[in-house]
Amino acid sequence: MKYIDEFRDPALARRLIAQIHATAARRANAQPIRLMEFCGGHTHAISRFGLRELLAPAVELRSGPGCPVCVTAADDLDRAIALADVPDVILTTFGDMVRVPGSRGQTLQAAAAHGADVRIVYSPLDALDIARQHPQQEVVFLGVGFETTAPGVAAALLQAEAEALPNFCLLSLHKLTPPAMRAILDVGEVALDGIIGPGHVSAITGSAAWDFLPREYAMPCAVAGFEPLDILSAIDALVQAVVAGEPAVINTYARGVRPEGNRVAQNMLAQVFEIGPANWRGFGAIPDSGLTLRENFAHRDAVRQFPVQLTPAPEPPGCRCGDVLRGVIVPTKCALFRRVCTPRNPVGPCMVSAEGACAAYFQYERECVNGLNGFF
Protein backbone atom coordinates (compact mmCIF):
# COMPACT_ATOMS: atom_id res chain seq x y z
CA MET A 1 0.00 0.00 0.00
CA LYS A 2 1.55 3.30 -1.14
CA TYR A 3 -1.69 5.27 -0.77
CA ILE A 4 -1.40 6.88 -4.20
CA ASP A 5 -1.46 4.56 -7.21
CA GLU A 6 -4.11 2.30 -5.68
CA PHE A 7 -6.48 5.27 -5.77
CA ARG A 8 -5.80 6.11 -9.42
CA ASP A 9 -6.95 2.86 -11.06
CA PRO A 10 -8.45 3.92 -14.42
CA ALA A 11 -10.79 0.94 -14.80
CA LEU A 12 -12.29 1.56 -11.37
CA ALA A 13 -12.55 5.29 -12.10
CA ARG A 14 -14.61 4.50 -15.18
CA ARG A 15 -16.83 2.14 -13.18
CA LEU A 16 -17.48 4.86 -10.63
CA ILE A 17 -18.26 7.38 -13.35
CA ALA A 18 -20.74 4.95 -14.91
CA GLN A 19 -22.37 4.38 -11.55
CA ILE A 20 -22.65 8.14 -10.92
CA HIS A 21 -24.37 8.63 -14.28
CA ALA A 22 -26.70 5.68 -13.63
CA THR A 23 -27.67 6.92 -10.16
CA ALA A 24 -28.17 10.51 -11.31
CA ALA A 25 -30.50 9.26 -14.06
CA ARG A 26 -32.85 8.00 -11.34
CA ARG A 27 -33.44 11.53 -10.07
CA ALA A 28 -37.07 12.52 -10.49
CA ASN A 29 -36.36 15.85 -12.17
CA ALA A 30 -33.73 15.64 -14.87
CA GLN A 31 -31.72 18.58 -13.48
CA PRO A 32 -27.97 18.21 -13.10
CA ILE A 33 -26.86 17.57 -9.52
CA ARG A 34 -24.93 20.64 -8.44
CA LEU A 35 -22.01 20.04 -6.12
CA MET A 36 -19.47 22.47 -4.72
CA GLU A 37 -15.93 21.34 -4.08
CA PHE A 38 -14.94 23.57 -1.21
CA CYS A 39 -11.24 22.87 -1.40
CA GLY A 40 -8.82 24.33 -3.95
CA GLY A 41 -6.89 21.07 -3.89
CA HIS A 42 -10.01 19.34 -5.16
CA THR A 43 -10.51 22.02 -7.82
CA HIS A 44 -6.99 21.38 -9.04
CA ALA A 45 -7.44 17.59 -9.09
CA ILE A 46 -10.86 17.81 -10.78
CA SER A 47 -9.41 19.96 -13.55
CA ARG A 48 -6.23 17.93 -13.82
CA PHE A 49 -8.02 14.61 -14.20
CA GLY A 50 -10.75 16.07 -16.42
CA LEU A 51 -13.53 14.92 -14.08
CA ARG A 52 -15.77 17.91 -14.75
CA GLU A 53 -16.26 16.89 -18.35
CA LEU A 54 -16.63 13.17 -17.60
CA LEU A 55 -19.43 13.84 -15.12
CA ALA A 56 -21.40 16.30 -17.25
CA PRO A 57 -24.31 16.61 -17.69
CA ALA A 58 -25.32 14.46 -14.71
CA VAL A 59 -23.21 16.41 -12.24
CA GLU A 60 -22.15 20.05 -12.26
CA LEU A 61 -19.09 20.90 -10.21
CA ARG A 62 -18.60 24.43 -8.90
CA SER A 63 -15.45 25.62 -7.15
CA GLY A 64 -15.65 27.19 -3.71
CA PRO A 65 -13.53 29.45 -1.50
CA GLY A 66 -11.06 26.78 -0.39
CA CYS A 67 -7.86 28.39 -1.61
CA PRO A 68 -6.28 30.23 1.33
CA VAL A 69 -4.09 32.38 -0.90
CA CYS A 70 -7.10 33.41 -2.98
CA VAL A 71 -9.31 34.41 -0.06
CA THR A 72 -6.61 36.56 1.55
CA ALA A 73 -8.04 40.09 1.51
CA ALA A 74 -6.14 42.76 -0.40
CA ASP A 75 -5.65 44.95 2.69
CA ASP A 76 -4.23 42.02 4.64
CA LEU A 77 -1.72 41.65 1.83
CA ASP A 78 -1.00 45.37 1.99
CA ARG A 79 -0.17 44.92 5.66
CA ALA A 80 2.18 42.03 4.87
CA ILE A 81 3.94 44.07 2.20
CA ALA A 82 4.24 47.05 4.56
CA LEU A 83 5.76 44.74 7.18
CA ALA A 84 8.30 43.43 4.69
CA ASP A 85 9.45 47.04 4.20
CA VAL A 86 10.14 47.59 7.92
CA PRO A 87 13.95 47.78 8.42
CA ASP A 88 15.48 44.66 9.99
CA VAL A 89 12.40 42.56 9.36
CA ILE A 90 12.77 39.26 7.52
CA LEU A 91 9.37 38.29 6.18
CA THR A 92 8.90 34.55 5.71
CA THR A 93 5.98 32.84 4.04
CA PHE A 94 4.81 30.04 1.74
CA GLY A 95 5.65 30.29 -1.97
CA ASP A 96 2.35 31.32 -3.53
CA MET A 97 1.94 34.35 -1.30
CA VAL A 98 4.83 36.33 -2.81
CA ARG A 99 3.09 36.69 -6.18
CA VAL A 100 -0.36 37.73 -5.01
CA PRO A 101 -1.03 41.36 -5.91
CA GLY A 102 -2.04 43.75 -3.13
CA SER A 103 -4.50 46.60 -3.60
CA ARG A 104 -2.24 48.64 -5.87
CA GLY A 105 -0.89 45.68 -7.80
CA GLN A 106 2.23 45.51 -5.63
CA THR A 107 3.54 42.11 -4.50
CA LEU A 108 5.95 40.73 -1.91
CA GLN A 109 8.09 39.63 -4.83
CA ALA A 110 8.32 43.23 -6.05
CA ALA A 111 9.05 44.41 -2.51
CA ALA A 112 11.92 41.92 -2.42
CA ALA A 113 13.25 43.27 -5.72
CA HIS A 114 13.34 46.70 -4.08
CA GLY A 115 15.39 45.46 -1.17
CA ALA A 116 12.92 43.98 1.33
CA ASP A 117 14.07 40.70 2.88
CA VAL A 118 11.35 38.21 1.85
CA ARG A 119 12.04 34.51 2.11
CA ILE A 120 9.96 31.57 0.94
CA VAL A 121 9.84 28.64 3.33
CA TYR A 122 8.38 25.16 3.05
CA SER A 123 7.55 24.90 6.74
CA PRO A 124 7.10 27.27 9.69
CA LEU A 125 9.97 25.26 11.19
CA ASP A 126 12.25 26.74 8.51
CA ALA A 127 11.19 30.22 9.64
CA LEU A 128 12.25 29.30 13.19
CA ASP A 129 15.66 28.29 11.83
CA ILE A 130 16.00 31.66 10.11
CA ALA A 131 15.18 33.40 13.41
CA ARG A 132 17.89 31.38 15.19
CA GLN A 133 20.42 32.27 12.49
CA HIS A 134 19.61 36.01 12.51
CA PRO A 135 19.32 37.05 16.16
CA GLN A 136 19.75 40.74 15.26
CA GLN A 137 16.68 40.75 13.01
CA GLU A 138 13.00 40.16 13.59
CA VAL A 139 11.55 37.24 11.68
CA VAL A 140 7.88 37.67 10.83
CA PHE A 141 6.04 34.60 9.59
CA LEU A 142 3.11 35.45 7.33
CA GLY A 143 0.68 32.70 8.29
CA VAL A 144 -1.97 31.86 5.72
CA GLY A 145 -4.02 28.71 5.57
CA PHE A 146 -6.99 26.89 6.99
CA GLU A 147 -7.28 24.34 9.79
CA THR A 148 -4.79 22.12 7.96
CA THR A 149 -1.99 24.65 8.14
CA ALA A 150 -2.65 26.64 11.32
CA PRO A 151 -1.68 23.85 13.79
CA GLY A 152 1.86 23.67 12.38
CA VAL A 153 2.16 27.41 12.81
CA ALA A 154 0.84 27.09 16.36
CA ALA A 155 3.41 24.35 17.02
CA ALA A 156 6.22 26.59 15.73
CA LEU A 157 5.05 29.41 18.01
CA LEU A 158 4.95 27.09 21.00
CA GLN A 159 8.46 25.96 20.14
CA ALA A 160 9.65 29.58 19.93
CA GLU A 161 8.17 30.09 23.41
CA ALA A 162 9.83 26.94 24.76
CA GLU A 163 13.21 28.13 23.43
CA ALA A 164 12.57 31.74 24.50
CA LEU A 165 13.47 32.73 20.96
CA PRO A 166 12.96 36.52 21.12
CA ASN A 167 12.87 37.47 17.43
CA PHE A 168 10.04 35.40 15.97
CA CYS A 169 6.51 36.65 15.48
CA LEU A 170 3.43 35.88 13.41
CA LEU A 171 1.07 37.78 11.14
CA SER A 172 -1.91 35.46 11.41
CA LEU A 173 -4.24 35.48 8.44
CA HIS A 174 -5.43 31.97 9.28
CA LYS A 175 -9.05 31.22 8.53
CA LEU A 176 -11.64 28.64 9.47
CA THR A 177 -13.60 26.83 6.78
CA PRO A 178 -17.04 26.00 8.24
CA PRO A 179 -17.99 29.71 8.64
CA ALA A 180 -17.21 30.34 4.95
CA MET A 181 -19.37 27.38 3.96
CA ARG A 182 -22.17 28.84 6.06
CA ALA A 183 -21.68 32.26 4.45
CA ILE A 184 -22.13 30.78 0.97
CA LEU A 185 -25.28 28.90 1.95
CA ASP A 186 -26.74 31.83 3.89
CA VAL A 187 -26.28 34.25 0.99
CA GLY A 188 -27.88 31.70 -1.33
CA GLU A 189 -26.42 33.13 -4.53
CA VAL A 190 -25.60 29.69 -5.87
CA ALA A 191 -27.99 26.75 -5.82
CA LEU A 192 -26.31 23.60 -4.51
CA ASP A 193 -27.33 20.01 -3.86
CA GLY A 194 -24.24 18.86 -1.98
CA ILE A 195 -20.74 19.66 -0.77
CA ILE A 196 -17.45 17.86 -1.37
CA GLY A 197 -15.80 18.38 2.02
CA PRO A 198 -12.11 19.32 2.33
CA GLY A 199 -10.10 16.20 3.20
CA HIS A 200 -7.05 17.64 4.88
CA VAL A 201 -8.94 20.31 6.78
CA SER A 202 -11.09 17.46 8.06
CA ALA A 203 -8.01 15.45 9.10
CA ILE A 204 -7.61 18.17 11.75
CA THR A 205 -11.21 19.19 12.49
CA GLY A 206 -12.74 15.72 12.07
CA SER A 207 -15.56 14.90 9.68
CA ALA A 208 -17.99 15.80 12.49
CA ALA A 209 -17.17 19.48 11.88
CA TRP A 210 -19.54 19.25 8.90
CA ASP A 211 -22.51 17.78 10.79
CA PHE A 212 -24.22 21.18 10.65
CA LEU A 213 -24.62 20.86 6.87
CA PRO A 214 -27.23 18.08 6.85
CA ARG A 215 -28.67 19.22 10.19
CA GLU A 216 -29.19 22.90 9.47
CA TYR A 217 -29.13 23.10 5.69
CA ALA A 218 -30.36 19.61 4.66
CA MET A 219 -27.17 19.50 2.60
CA PRO A 220 -25.19 16.28 2.17
CA CYS A 221 -21.41 16.53 2.56
CA ALA A 222 -18.85 13.91 1.51
CA VAL A 223 -15.37 14.35 2.94
CA ALA A 224 -12.95 13.41 0.17
CA GLY A 225 -9.31 12.60 -0.44
CA PHE A 226 -7.43 13.95 -3.44
CA GLU A 227 -6.86 11.02 -5.80
CA PRO A 228 -9.34 10.46 -8.65
CA LEU A 229 -11.02 7.46 -6.97
CA ASP A 230 -11.35 9.47 -3.76
CA ILE A 231 -13.09 12.35 -5.48
CA LEU A 232 -15.26 10.08 -7.59
CA SER A 233 -16.37 7.97 -4.64
CA ALA A 234 -17.29 11.16 -2.76
CA ILE A 235 -19.32 12.36 -5.74
CA ASP A 236 -20.91 8.91 -6.00
CA ALA A 237 -21.91 9.06 -2.34
CA LEU A 238 -23.32 12.58 -2.75
CA VAL A 239 -25.33 11.69 -5.83
CA GLN A 240 -26.81 8.72 -3.97
CA ALA A 241 -27.68 10.93 -0.99
CA VAL A 242 -29.30 13.52 -3.26
CA VAL A 243 -31.33 10.97 -5.20
CA ALA A 244 -32.45 9.24 -2.00
CA GLY A 245 -33.22 12.59 -0.37
CA GLU A 246 -31.15 11.60 2.67
CA PRO A 247 -28.61 14.29 3.54
CA ALA A 248 -25.75 13.12 5.75
CA VAL A 249 -22.02 13.55 6.30
CA ILE A 250 -20.24 10.71 4.54
CA ASN A 251 -16.54 10.20 5.15
CA THR A 252 -15.01 8.72 2.01
CA TYR A 253 -11.47 9.49 3.23
CA ALA A 254 -11.51 7.34 6.36
CA ARG A 255 -7.88 6.30 5.92
CA GLY A 256 -6.81 9.84 6.84
CA VAL A 257 -9.84 11.43 8.52
CA ARG A 258 -11.40 10.35 11.82
CA PRO A 259 -14.79 11.69 12.97
CA GLU A 260 -13.15 13.52 15.88
CA GLY A 261 -10.12 14.73 13.90
CA ASN A 262 -6.68 15.31 15.36
CA ARG A 263 -7.11 16.24 19.01
CA VAL A 264 -3.43 17.12 19.53
CA ALA A 265 -3.60 19.65 16.71
CA GLN A 266 -6.92 21.04 17.96
CA ASN A 267 -5.40 21.58 21.40
CA MET A 268 -2.42 23.42 19.94
CA LEU A 269 -4.78 25.72 18.04
CA ALA A 270 -6.79 26.42 21.18
CA GLN A 271 -3.64 27.15 23.19
CA VAL A 272 -2.30 29.74 20.77
CA PHE A 273 -5.29 31.25 18.98
CA GLU A 274 -8.70 32.62 19.69
CA ILE A 275 -11.50 32.86 17.18
CA GLY A 276 -12.33 36.28 15.77
CA PRO A 277 -13.63 37.96 12.63
CA ALA A 278 -11.61 37.71 9.41
CA ASN A 279 -11.74 39.44 6.05
CA TRP A 280 -12.23 37.14 3.10
CA ARG A 281 -11.72 38.27 -0.45
CA GLY A 282 -15.10 38.11 -2.14
CA PHE A 283 -17.03 37.93 1.13
CA GLY A 284 -15.84 40.79 3.32
CA ALA A 285 -15.80 40.21 7.07
CA ILE A 286 -17.11 36.82 8.19
CA PRO A 287 -17.72 36.60 11.95
CA ASP A 288 -15.85 33.93 13.92
CA SER A 289 -13.92 32.80 10.86
CA GLY A 290 -10.36 33.84 11.72
CA LEU A 291 -7.61 32.86 14.13
CA THR A 292 -5.97 35.69 16.07
CA LEU A 293 -3.24 35.28 18.67
CA ARG A 294 -4.29 35.09 22.30
CA GLU A 295 -3.40 37.93 24.65
CA ASN A 296 -0.55 35.95 26.25
CA PHE A 297 1.05 35.69 22.80
CA ALA A 298 0.81 39.47 22.17
CA HIS A 299 4.62 39.66 22.06
CA ARG A 300 4.52 37.28 19.08
CA ASP A 301 1.76 39.16 17.25
CA ALA A 302 3.10 41.13 14.28
CA VAL A 303 -0.08 43.24 14.17
CA ARG A 304 0.60 44.49 17.70
CA GLN A 305 4.39 44.63 17.39
CA PHE A 306 4.54 46.53 14.09
CA PRO A 307 1.60 48.90 13.68
CA VAL A 308 1.45 50.04 10.04
CA GLN A 309 -0.69 52.65 8.31
CA LEU A 310 -3.09 51.14 5.79
CA THR A 311 -5.45 52.72 3.33
CA PRO A 312 -8.64 50.81 2.48
CA ALA A 313 -8.00 48.57 -0.49
CA PRO A 314 -10.23 48.15 -3.54
CA GLU A 315 -10.23 44.91 -5.53
CA PRO A 316 -8.24 44.95 -8.79
CA PRO A 317 -10.54 46.48 -11.45
CA GLY A 318 -12.31 43.91 -13.63
CA CYS A 319 -11.18 40.93 -11.55
CA ARG A 320 -14.09 38.70 -10.54
CA CYS A 321 -12.20 36.56 -8.02
CA GLY A 322 -14.86 37.38 -5.45
CA ASP A 323 -17.61 35.89 -7.61
CA VAL A 324 -15.40 32.89 -8.45
CA LEU A 325 -14.68 32.29 -4.75
CA ARG A 326 -18.36 32.41 -3.83
CA GLY A 327 -19.10 29.94 -6.61
CA VAL A 328 -21.30 32.45 -8.43
CA ILE A 329 -19.40 32.23 -11.74
CA VAL A 330 -16.92 29.85 -13.32
CA PRO A 331 -13.56 31.46 -14.20
CA THR A 332 -14.21 31.47 -17.95
CA LYS A 333 -17.04 33.96 -17.33
CA CYS A 334 -14.52 36.60 -16.23
CA ALA A 335 -13.84 38.98 -19.13
CA LEU A 336 -10.14 39.09 -18.23
CA PHE A 337 -9.69 35.31 -18.13
CA ARG A 338 -6.96 34.19 -20.53
CA ARG A 339 -7.13 37.46 -22.47
CA VAL A 340 -5.55 39.72 -19.88
CA CYS A 341 -5.17 37.49 -16.86
CA THR A 342 -2.81 34.51 -17.16
CA PRO A 343 -0.59 32.64 -14.70
CA ARG A 344 2.35 34.69 -16.03
CA ASN A 345 0.53 37.98 -15.50
CA PRO A 346 -2.11 37.26 -12.90
CA VAL A 347 -4.59 40.05 -12.19
CA GLY A 348 -6.15 38.36 -9.20
CA PRO A 349 -5.07 35.72 -6.70
CA CYS A 350 -7.29 33.00 -8.21
CA MET A 351 -4.83 32.96 -11.14
CA VAL A 352 -1.73 32.98 -8.91
CA SER A 353 -2.16 29.94 -6.75
CA ALA A 354 -2.07 26.54 -8.44
CA GLU A 355 -5.20 25.78 -6.42
CA GLY A 356 -7.00 28.88 -7.54
CA ALA A 357 -9.95 28.02 -9.78
CA CYS A 358 -8.78 30.42 -12.52
CA ALA A 359 -5.32 28.84 -12.65
CA ALA A 360 -6.80 25.32 -12.67
CA TYR A 361 -9.17 26.14 -15.53
CA PHE A 362 -6.39 27.92 -17.42
CA GLN A 363 -3.93 25.09 -17.09
CA TYR A 364 -6.11 22.07 -17.74
CA GLU A 365 -9.61 22.63 -18.98
CA ARG A 366 -8.73 23.70 -22.50
CA GLU A 367 -6.75 20.58 -23.38
CA CYS A 368 -9.23 18.32 -21.74
CA VAL A 369 -11.12 16.75 -24.60
CA ASN A 370 -11.74 13.19 -23.61
CA GLY A 371 -11.39 13.45 -19.88
CA LEU A 372 -8.88 11.98 -17.50
CA ASN A 373 -6.31 14.05 -19.38
CA GLY A 374 -4.10 11.16 -20.37
CA PHE A 375 -3.69 10.11 -16.78
CA PHE A 376 -5.32 6.79 -17.33
Binding site: M1, K2, Y3, I4, E6, F7, D9, A11, L12, R14, R15, L16, I17, A18, Q19, H21, C39, G40, G41, L54, G66, C67, P68, V69, F94, D96, Y122, S123, P124, L125, V144, G145, F146, T148, T149, P151, G152, A155, P198, G199, H200, V201, A203, I204, F226, L229, S233, T252, A254, R255, G256, V257, R258, N262, V264, A265, M268, E355, N370, G371
Partner: protein, 85 residues
Protein backbone atom coordinates in the same frame (compact mmCIF):
# COMPACT_ATOMS: atom_id res chain seq x y z
CA UNK B 1 -2.18 24.91 0.04
CA UNK B 2 -3.81 22.10 2.01
CA UNK B 3 -1.74 19.65 0.01
CA UNK B 4 -0.61 16.78 2.20
CA UNK B 5 1.47 13.93 0.87
CA UNK B 6 1.34 10.32 2.06
CA UNK B 7 4.81 9.17 2.96
CA UNK B 8 6.42 6.42 5.04
CA UNK B 9 8.36 7.06 8.23
CA UNK B 10 11.91 5.72 7.95
CA UNK B 11 13.24 6.70 11.38
CA UNK B 12 12.21 8.66 14.48
CA UNK B 13 14.55 10.56 16.84
CA UNK B 14 14.12 11.72 20.45
CA UNK B 15 12.85 15.18 19.46
CA UNK B 16 9.71 13.76 17.81
CA UNK B 17 11.27 14.37 14.43
CA UNK B 18 10.94 11.73 11.73
CA UNK B 19 12.94 11.01 8.60
CA UNK B 20 10.81 10.50 5.51
CA UNK B 21 11.46 10.34 1.77
CA UNK B 22 9.55 13.07 -0.05
CA UNK B 23 9.92 13.28 -3.80
CA UNK B 24 13.05 11.13 -3.60
CA UNK B 25 14.70 13.46 -1.08
CA UNK B 26 15.10 12.65 2.60
CA UNK B 27 13.43 15.23 4.82
CA UNK B 28 12.93 15.66 8.50
CA UNK B 29 9.37 16.27 9.60
CA UNK B 30 7.79 16.87 12.97
CA UNK B 31 5.58 14.29 14.66
CA UNK B 32 4.30 16.61 17.44
CA UNK B 33 0.76 16.29 16.10
CA UNK B 34 0.90 12.52 15.63
CA UNK B 35 2.76 11.21 18.71
CA UNK B 36 1.34 7.73 18.05
CA UNK B 37 3.20 7.38 14.72
CA UNK B 38 5.68 4.49 14.43
CA UNK B 39 8.51 3.69 12.05
CA UNK B 40 6.95 2.07 8.97
CA UNK B 41 3.66 3.96 9.29
CA UNK B 42 2.45 6.14 6.45
CA UNK B 43 1.56 9.67 7.46
CA UNK B 44 0.06 12.66 5.65
CA UNK B 45 2.72 15.38 5.60
CA UNK B 46 1.77 19.04 5.38
CA UNK B 47 4.26 21.94 5.71
CA UNK B 48 6.78 19.85 7.62
CA UNK B 49 4.33 18.23 10.03
CA UNK B 50 2.61 14.86 10.00
CA UNK B 51 -1.07 15.71 10.42
CA UNK B 52 -2.56 12.20 10.33
CA UNK B 53 -1.42 8.58 10.49
CA UNK B 54 -2.95 6.73 7.56
CA UNK B 55 -5.05 3.73 8.51
CA UNK B 56 -4.20 0.73 6.29
CA UNK B 57 -7.42 -1.10 7.21
CA UNK B 58 -9.61 1.83 6.18
CA UNK B 59 -7.63 2.17 2.95
CA UNK B 60 -8.12 -1.52 2.23
CA UNK B 61 -11.84 -1.24 3.00
CA UNK B 62 -12.22 1.58 0.45
CA UNK B 63 -10.37 -0.40 -2.20
CA UNK B 64 -12.53 -3.44 -1.53
CA UNK B 65 -15.69 -1.36 -1.95
CA UNK B 66 -14.41 -0.25 -5.35
CA UNK B 67 -13.59 -3.84 -6.29
CA UNK B 68 -17.09 -4.98 -5.30
CA UNK B 69 -18.60 -2.25 -7.42
CA UNK B 70 -16.59 -3.48 -10.39
CA UNK B 71 -17.83 -7.05 -9.78
CA UNK B 72 -21.46 -6.04 -9.46
CA UNK B 73 -21.30 -4.11 -12.71
CA UNK B 74 -19.60 -7.03 -14.43
CA UNK B 75 -22.35 -9.39 -13.21
CA UNK B 76 -25.08 -7.06 -14.40
CA UNK B 77 -23.39 -7.01 -17.75
CA UNK B 78 -22.36 -3.52 -16.62
CA UNK B 79 -22.85 -0.39 -18.66
CA UNK B 80 -20.58 -0.73 -21.65
CA UNK B 81 -18.40 2.07 -20.42
CA UNK B 82 -15.96 1.97 -23.29
CA UNK B 83 -18.81 2.63 -25.67
CA UNK B 84 -19.89 5.67 -23.69
CA UNK B 85 -16.47 7.29 -23.65
Amino acid sequence: MCLAIPTQIIAIDEQQMATVALGGVERRISLVMTPEAQVGDYVLVHTGYAISVLDPEEAQASLETFAELAEIQAELGGPAIDEIY
